[in-house]
Every structure is written in structure tokens, then in C-alpha cells.
Symmetry: C2
Subunit: 296 residues, 2 copies
């Protein structure tokens, strides 16, 4: 590609830029963002080749635009870019929810929504900002695309090829499937971890409790160290799917509470053993996928 635009040059956008450069997949990368300090840092680190505050300059001759700003910004950013969107440009994003992003893109782009290919790279780190960006962040990780009926094949392929150049493996789901899946395996666990830490921190003897929390608690609650603003936005954006998963989980806990109250050890053990077995199978599948020869 000749020109790529990254809107939001933090961990996600910055790592995409570094990986494309490393792969030799792009000639020039333009950064856009709200914070002059972040843009200056991204320039200094060599993540972007130039920075601009002008959507008109940014969009001129762009092959691909990646939105890597908070999901709630998708609509306003697309509205600013839309007047300068050329026919040959494809826009994609890196948001953790997809139905709301699609709705925002339809509202902002109207009949040109076919130029927007929604995406979600499944990768991250605990640190943020351009200094956290890594050229290797996406190697071996999945990127889920949720193409629209309006997307021309060649635009979907351009986005897919960019992520493949970063080392990612492309999966495709509908936006609805995507949001249901991530409500279960990501958004609900985040809510549950935040809930536990807040529950404990709000008790009068919280200090005593934290004193005895150990490595199991640390791992269980690691995701409660994530950005509250970002997870507020994700929770609201994927509210309906998340409510569905939360209700299923509440029913599960209520059933286990009854087993415990009845001292029904056999029933509890069945739940625990089924969970242990399923988790073990999952971990084995991951390890075999990483090292395909290990199972031979």
C-alpha cells in the first residue's frame, strides 16, 4: 500500500503501524489523534511517518484507514472523515464490539458504508499508549472481521491482507455472532472480575482480606486492572448480549448456591469437574495450535 492512516496511535494502532512497516507492506503512515503529545511521541518512536490534525490531508490518496480510538468515538470520527473519503479508500476499525460500530458507520457513511470493513484484533497488553506498541503484537493472534453485505470483496481482502502482513490469522463472523461470542468469553469475565474486587474493597475489613489474597486471586482479577472508561463503553455498546450472558451466569450461580446450601457435594463436584475438564481441553487445543508438531 502507498498510504495508511491510523486514527489513534496507541497500543493497538501503533502496533499495527509497526507491523506493517516491518513487513514492508506500506510506504507512508499518517497518524491522527486528539493528543498532540501522543502524536509527537508516535513520530519520535518512528511509528508514523507524519502526523496531521486535518482529515482532508489525512484522507488524500489513502489506501486504508484504521480507527483505533475508543469505540464510542467511531461515529464522530467517521463523520469528520466522510467528506474526504475517496472511492479507492477502505476504512476498518479495531473495536471490541461490532454491532454498535456497524450502526455508527451506517449513520456516518450512508450509502458509502461498503467502504467500511469492521474488524477486531484479539490481542492486547496491560500497558497502553505508543510506547507500548510492538511490531509483534499480532503475530499468531486472531483478527475477526465482520464484513457487511455492502463490502466489495477486494476491500475486505485489502483489510485481511493488512492484518495477515502483521502476522494475524483472519476469522470471519457476523457482527451479531461476534458480539455474542465476546460477551461470553471476554465482556462477562471483565464484569465479574470488577464485581469481585469492588465487592471485597467495599467490605469494612477489606484491608484484612487483601492481606491474604494470593496468586489465584491475582490471576482471577487481572482483567479488573483494565481501563474503567473503556469497559464502561464496551458494556454499554454490547449491553443486550452482555445482559443475556450475565443472566445465564446468575442462573448458574443460583443453582450452585442451592447445591452448596444442601451440602450436595456430588452435584458441586460434577460442576467443578466438568469445568476442569473443559478448561483442560481448551488449553490443550491452544497448545497444539501453537506447536502443531507436539501432538504427533
Amino acid at each position: 500500500m502507498d498510504k495508511v492512516v491510523i486514527v489513534g496511535v496507541g497500543l493497538i494502532g501503533g502496533s499495527f503501524a509497526l507491523a506493517l512497516k516491518k513487513a514492508g507492506a506500506v510506504r507512508h503512515i499518517v497518524g491522527m489523534g486528539r493528543s498532540p503529545e501522543v502524536m509527537a511521541r508516535a513520530l519520535a518512536l518512528g511509528i508514523v511517518d507524519s502526523a496531521t490534525g486535518s482529515p482532508q490531508d489525512a484522507m488524500r490518496g489513502a489506501d486504508l484507514v484504521l480507527l483505533a480510538a475508543p469505540v464510542a468515538q467511531t461515529g464522530p470520527i467517521l463523520a469528520r472523515l466522510a467528506p474526504y473519503l475517496e472511492e479507492g479508500t477502505v476504512i476498518t476499525d479495531a473495536g471490541s464490539t461490532k454491532s454498535d460500530v456497524v450502526a455508527a458507520a451506517r449513520a456516518a457513511l450512508g450509502e458509502r458504508v461498503g467502504q467500511f470493513v469492521p474488524g477486531h484484533p484479539i490481542a492486547g497488553r496491560e500497558s497502553n499508549g505508543p510506547d507500548a506498541a510492538l511490531a509483534e503484537l499480532y503475530v499468531g493472534k486472531k483478527t475477526v472481521l465482520t464484513p457487511l453485505p455492502e463490502n466489495p470483496d477486494d476491500m475486505v481482502e485489502r483489510v485481511a491482507a493488512s492484518w495477515r502482513a502483521c502476522g494475524a490469522v483472519i476469522h470471519k463472523l457476523s457482527a451479531h455472532e461476534h458480539d455474542k461470542v465476546f460477551a461470553a468469553v471476554s465482556h462477562l469475565p471483565h464484569l465479574l472480575a470488577y464485581a469481585l474486587v469492588d465487592d471485597i474493597a467495599s467490605k469494612p475489613h477489606a484491608g484484612l482480606l487483601f492481606q491474604y489474597a494470593a496468586s489465584g486471586f491475582r490471576d482471577f482479577t487481572r482483567i479488573a486492572g483494565s481501563s474503567p472508561e473503556m469497559w464502561r463503553d464496551i458494556s454499554l455498546a454490547n449491553r443486550d448480549a452482555l445482559l443475556g450472558e450475565l443472566d445465564a451466569y446468575l442462573a448458574q450461580l443460583t443453582s450452585m448456591r442451592a447445591m452448596l446450601a444442601a451440602s450436595d457435594g456430588a452435584a458441586l463436584e460434577r460442576v467443578y469437574a466438568n469445568a476442569q475438564r473443559a478448561r483442560h481441553a481448551w488449553i490443550s487445543a491452544i497448545e497444539n495450535a501453537r506447536d502443531p508438531d507436539s501432538g504427533k
Copy 2:
């Protein structure tokens, strides 16, 4: 000490033995256990100096006996050892619950219960058995003792000194306090992690869900890889405290469900932010405790 007896030479008992030997704190260690294979392995690894199936042989002249078998075995094991319990011997344990262990000890030892000092080392690994034992397992970790009113000071001190020789830091709580604390920071998180994995594994599209589960899910559910039998026993042994913590958590989730259903982003963000802040403070406190100079 001249002679220490370890009942159950797996990860916990074996690591205690290796650490005492490394510290030069004991002359002879005797292993007892149900499995001849495990005992042979513990002998071969040099964890114990001898192994016996005879409680009479084991207890003769013993300074200290550590019970490191599953908690539900505490009563039967003490009943077998009691006839041979000499006046100078102290018995301790490594169980994850304490009120039930104290009750079992009172039933088995009667008026000699003063010779039983309940304990709980806060350390572990994902692997089990004598091969997993490490001389360094307890270094810098807490061991909680929950002494009884009947315990003579010198017997409590003998147990405390043994754990200190292993590198552990001694804390003292009542058995009731201990069980309430660990219901909140350990037993509840285990139940919650098992609940989530079983919930997801029971869905018709479980395969699709596990395919997209990533590192956040992996850490959140790591403790669902623990032994179902062990956690069934712990759940039942600490049932009342665990029910109390589970009810508080269910109330917290129900309240957060209402925030989500009302799209009350500000309320959700307050919970998330409070949790993030509390977890960050806890992690900082741990890191400062590990490296006391780092805060200067």
C-alpha cells in the same frame, strides 16, 4: 528437631520436608501415606528418609507431625495417630479450612487437643505430587496459624519456627476469622471460575466460544483447573462462610445488572474504577512488600 512425620508427601508435605532439610532443621523425616507408589517416589527423591505404614512406628519419638492429606481425611488420620501420641509431640496441618479441622481434632484427640496447632500455608503450584515439591515453595509466603486456647505456647512456637525455617512468614488468626477471610479471597473466586467455565462449556455453541477465548479468559479461569475433589471438600467444609460471600456477590451482580439494563454508564464506571483502584493499590502493596527499598 530430631524427628518429623509427614502424612501425605505431595506438593505441600514434600515441600515442607525439603525446606526443613535444606535449613538443617531436622535430623530424620518419616513419610506416611495411602499410596505405596507415592511413598516410593518420595523416598527416591530424597524428600523423606524413611516411609512407614505403621502409625506406632511413625509416632515414636516424633517432635512434629504435619498432616498434608486432603482436609476431609483429618479426622480419620488423627484417630489412627491418637493412640500413639506422646506428650512431647505437636501435630499441625496444612488444610485450606480451619473450623472443620479444629472440630475434627477435638473429636479425635479429646483432652489432648492442645497438642494440635492448626495451620494453613498460603502457597501452591498448578502441579501436584512429590515430583512437584520444591524446597523454596514457602519462601516469603504466609503461613496462617489458628492456635487453640488449649495450645501451650511452646508447641505453637515449635510449629511457627518450623515454618519460619522453610522461609514462611507467620500470621495468626482465629479459625473463624481465617475461614471468613479465605471464603472471600480464595474459595469464592474458585467457585466463580468453575461456574463460568461450566456455564460456557454447557452452551450448544461452546466450541465456537472457546475458539475466541483469549488471555483474559485464561487468567480468570486458571483456578478452574484445580482439583474438583479438593474444592468440593473445601466448599463443603467452609459452607457457611462461603454461602455468606456468595450471597454478597450475587447481590453485587444483581445491582450491576440493574445498572447495565438501565444503561447507567456512570454507575458502572464507578464500580469498575473502584475495583481498578483497589486492585492497583493491592498490587503496589505486594510489590513494595517484596522489595522494601523500591518505595524509598
